[in-house]
């Protein structure tokens, strides 16, 4: 019953569940950047990506995310927190887009109020997921990377 509506997403989830060979084929070439100031979230998001064979780097705020790109690095996917010191996710997303960064940027925040979400999305997000991030939520983001890539 879910197949007609979420057929493609389910297909991706099945390939994730199918184990390393299918998984590697899907995600081994995807690179990701985790942008979050909280060590707990950094650890979980890093492990979630690692678990799917996705090579990833972790930085602690929006400014560091911008700096990493200035140094010439590029990622297929950016998991962007909203509330961070120095430079928050909204400013960082705007800045990255103004620099011409076309990576898929997914906002990942505990904020659930429509107005707060809206400002973040309008800054240039491709996707928004409410924390806590799970393998299923990550899979739905990855599906977009795959489709766009």
């Amino acid at each position: 019953m879910l197949e007609s509506k979420n057929g493609m997403k389910d297909g991706l989830l099945n390939s994730i569940k199918a184990g390393p060979p299918a998984l590697l084929e899907l995600s081994s070439k995807i690179t990701a950047l985790v942008v979050d100031d909280n060590t707990l979230n950094q650890t979980i998001h890093h492990r979630l990506l690692d678990n799917l064979g996705i090579q990833n780097q972790v930085v602690g705020n929006g400014k560091e995310a911008v700096d990493v790109h200035c140094s010439g690095k590029n990622f297929d996917l950016i998991l962007m927190d909203m509330d961070m010191p120095v430079m928050n996710g909204i400013e960082a997303t705007r800045k990255l887009r103004s620099m011409g960064i076309r990576s898929l940027i997914a906002g990942v925040s505990a904020r659930s109020a429509e107005k707060e979400k809206q400002e973040f999305i309008e800054a240039g997000l491709d996707d928004y997921q409410e924390k806590p991030l799970t393998t299923i939520k990550l899979a739905s983001i990855l599906h977009k990377v795959k489709k766009d890539g």
Binding site: N38, L40, A110, K131
Partner: protein, 154 residues
């Protein structure tokens, strides 16, 4: 106690934590991310949660103790605690934070103090239960057994 008995005891104990709403499905998610190459992932993440929570609870208590209470600041701390607790599946701490934020919005000092006590109580409960859970796991490993994977069927 023999290993099988210890494993059954661990399974029962874990189940009770879900039944009592102390933990939710997010904790299972963390357990699923633990494997041979990351054998201490859950303990590592939960330790970060303990550190985070204790710092935030102190910050909140200190902020509430001021002559002129900055509710915006307290709300930001409670929001962070809500995020951390939901990341590890500490459901009752998370729910207590949700209630707390309503009192912050009303700038209700008395209600906020009551909520702080409630959050602390739920935090101490989940901390205690998780420490017991890890101890049971360690005892099984020390006795040469393996920690069974928890099914998410309940």
């Amino acid at each position: 106690m023999e290993v099988g008995q210890m494993q059954r005891r661990l399974a029962e104990y874990t189940k009770s934590l879900f039944m009592e709403g102390i933990l939710d499905a997010q904790f299972l998610q963390l357990q699923q991310l633990q494997d041979e190459s990351n054998p201490d992932f859950v303990v590592e993440v939960v330790t970060l949660f303990f550190d985070d929570s204790e710092k935030l609870l102190n910050d909140i208590a200190r902020a509430l103790d001021q002559q002129c209470v900055d509710f915006k600041k307290i709300d930001a701390h409670v929001h962070q605690l809500k995020g951390s607790s939901s990341s590890v599946g500490a459901q009752r701490v998370k729910n207590a934070c949700v209630a707390f934020r309503n009192f912050c919005e009303e700038q209700n000092a008395e209600g906020s103090l009551r909520c702080l006590q409630q959050v602390k109580q739920e935090y101490n409960l989940v901390k205690n239960k998780l420490e017991t859970l890890f101890r049971l796991e360690q005892q099984i490993v020390a006795a040469g057994g393996s920690v069974p994977m928890i099914e998410s069927s309940f």
